[in-house]
């Protein structure tokens, strides 16, 4: 079994013996939906239509992945957020159960998505049935094939699973999520008539790398949902780090969300939220535009990470005159320099073909690799060769 299928496999192992205690008749639930409680806040909601699906969603949705208290989800729905996202794999299935409980009685007013990372039609459809049971609904509006990185991952078998689920009324739209490889994958999904919505990692650290692909997909009528909008790095900023205080300032994290929202190709976003404060911050992002202050804040973060860390955007692929796999080498160096895993970095380096491992950057008078994000490639590669060769 390929490693990447492991998480869903883990879930399958746990789901099988679970009694149907959590199962509810979603049809019954929906007949007896109680009216939503009156909103506590009255933010100016911005709605966008999710491609050709016709689904109208708030420009800021709710990524439930790391939410641990159902009250935050419940409140978001009451306030007026209309799109909620989870996945079969999150918290080994506990997340779907919590989301289902939080949204009970509100389902008919919301757009709900989940995901399956299964590799076969049979396993994917089994995942879908489990998701529906745990979420307490009879259908998903959006069902993603989870975490695909290349066109070949979106197999005919999985597309067939989605079409089967559509015909059975278990999903409304067939969709794909991706965290990497988007420059190749998104155009392929754009050309695929069976795919309705694309969920992609998209944030300020990527610059304009993905903009052409996203714009083309949007123009073709695909719904575009952005995730990882906070660029992840914020979560890893700890006390003592240079930017800790800057990023912990009230509302500062919202700059990253505003950056995404200014893209006309993005229909909605699903930032992760763990508390009420974050929810309210994100609502502010929905109504406020991207400012000079936001721009400065994000520029400082980029400046901080740019010289050292490769963002794996793939733009340097094939640009080394000596044929070095630049992104891989930079990653190996990060193992050693960033995380003290020298042996791991060296092990990976030594797995390179001999003709590649023997290359020395200091023999080139000029470097043909120009990182668009400012990584000092030649300097970093020389260090990798010095350390590992």
């Amino acid at each position: 079994m390929p490693d990447s299928s492991r998480r869903n496999f883990l879930i399958a192992g746990l789901a099988a013996p679970v009694a149907a205690s959590a199962a509810r008749s979603s049809a019954d639930d929906q007949k007896h939906d109680t009216p939503p409680k009156a909103p506590i806040l009255t933010p100016e909601f911005r709605y966008r239509t999710l491609g050709k699906t016709g689904l109208k969603v708030t420009s800021v949705g709710f990524g439930c992945m790391i939410t641990s208290d159902a009250s935050v989800i419940e409140r978001a729905a009451d306030i007026g957020i209309t799109y909620f996202d989870t996945a079969r794999v999150y918290q080994s299935g506990n997340n779907e159960r919590m989301v289902g409980a939080a949204l009970k009685g509100k389902r008919q007013n919301l757009t709900l998505s989940s995901k399956s990372g299964a590799k076969t039609k049979e396993a994917a459809l089994a995942d879908l049935d489990t998701s529906l049971r745990e979420l307490g609904t009879d259908h998903l509006d959006i069902w993603y094939l989870h975490a695909k990185t290349k066109p070949a991952d979106v197999t005919d078998d999985l597309i067939d699973a989605q079409q089967t689920a559509k015909q059975a009324g278990k999903i409304r739209f067939a969709d794909v999520s991706t965290h990497s490889g988007q420059t190749e994958l998104i155009p392929a999904l754009t050309a695929n008539p069976h795919i309705d919505v694309i969920l992609t990692a998209y944030n300020f650290s990527m610059g304009q790398t993905l903009d052409p692909a996203i714009a083309a997909a949007h123009a073709a009528g695909k719904g575009i949902v952005a995730m990882k909008v906070m660029a992840g790095g914020f979560r890893n900023t700890k006390p003592g780090d240079k930017l800790y205080n800057t990023f912990k300032k009230d509302g500062a994290l919202v700059a990253a969300l505003r950056w995404v929202l200014k893209s006309s190709g993005v229909d909605t976003t699903i930032p992760s939220m763990t508390d009420m404060d974050q929810l309210e911050d994100n609502l502010k992002a929905m109504t406020g535009g991207f400012t000079k202050s936001d721009e400065g804040l994000l520029a400082r973060q980029l400046e901080y990470i740019a010289p050292l860390y490769c963002r794996m955007c793939g733009q340097c692929d094939g640009s080394c005159a000596k044929g070095l796999p630049v992104a891989d080498l930079l990653r190996y160096l990060t193992y050693a320099d960033g995380y003290g895993q020298f042996s791991l970095g060296r092990e990976r380096f030594q797995e390179l073909p001999a003709e590649v491992a023997q290359v020395r950057c200091d023999t080139c008078s000029t470097c043909t690799v120009n990182c668009p994000h400012g990584v000092r490639v030649s300097e970093r590669l020389s260090r990798a060769q010095e350390l590992f060769a």
Binding site: A12, D69, H146, H179, R235, Y339
Partner: protein, 266 residues
């Protein structure tokens, strides 16, 4: 940056024990051993890595073992401390299923084992679809012996009454969905939700109580009121702890419950 790198390097010295396939007779390794840290965990579990990072993930070592057409994936993750590893376990176990006496806590199903010991969290997953319990038990028992450290459960678990308890979890940030309550344990009961948050000192806890009063617009110590989403709730301050119950159903007294819980704390 130097401080960050030094910290990370120090943390990486405490790498998880590497699992082996020869821990159970007849099994052999398929492919290379796996090793991941926080920076590249997404390469292994794209779309789910954040759930690990949230609990202070440090490193993961794994192997895939095969025997007679069956395969078992074994991954051992190291977290910053035993509480965090237990937190990861508590977030991923199914509270509807029974636990297993394995390390500080475990759960076994026909195709899956998860357990925690000290600062380690182990996951084993078997393929294809059938009952792999015997092999999973053999591997997990051997791995449990291999992992260093204590099998003690976090002290906080003993604070919560066992009777009627449906689950108990470490919440790594924003307990009850409130940023003021940074990190703590939450136990679910039919009649409500108990919580314990530990601050750095009694003064710090008192300051958080002040902020809770300000946020909710209610006074008192204990702080008791009804919230739209947290239902009938009560916060009690005891030394460095903020203790209480939320979503308490009618017929139970939040103050009485919170006071009884506080009395169980040191």
């Amino acid at each position: 940056m130097k401080a960050l790198l030094a910290g990370l390097a120090a943390a990486a010295l405490c790498v998880a024990q590497v699992p082996r396939c020869d821990l159970a007779p007849g099994w052999s390794r398929q492919g290379a051993a796996r090793a991941y840290e926080a920076s590249n965990l997404f390469e292994y579990m794209d779309g789910n890595a954040e759930g690990y990072l949230l609990y202070g993930f440090v490193a993961m070592h794994g192997v895939t073992c095969v025997k007679d057409g069956d395969s078992i994936l074994i991954d051992i993750s190291e977290f910053a401390d035993a509480d965090s590893a237990y937190g990861m376990f508590s977030a991923n176990r199914d509270p509807r299923l029974p636990g297993e006496r394995l390390g500080a806590g475990g759960q076994i199903t026909p195709r899956r084992v998860i357990f925690t010991k000290d600062r380690f969290y182990a996951e084993l997953a078997a393929n294809p679809e059938k009952d792999h319990t015997a092999a999973l038990r053999a591997f997990s028992a051997a791995i449990e012996r291999l992992l260093p450290g204590s099998t003690a459960v976090p002290a906080a678990l003993a604070w919560f009454p066992a009777e009627g308890q449906k689950s108990v979890r470490l919440i790594p940030e924003s307990v009850l969905g409130l940023r003021l309550l940074k990190r703590g344990y939450v136990a679910e009961y039919e009649f409500g939700k108990a919580f314990v948050v530990q601050e750095s000192s009694a003064e710090a806890a008192a300051a958080v109580m002040d902020k809770l009063r300000e946020r909710f617009g209610h006074q008192g110590d204990p702080l008791q009121f009804t919230d739209r989403y947290l239902g009938r709730l009560c916060f009690v301050h005891k030394g460095p702890y903020i203790v209480g119950y939320a979503n308490v159903v009618e017929g139970h007294d939040p103050l009485e419950l919170a006071s009884a819980l506080a009395a169980r704390l040191p």
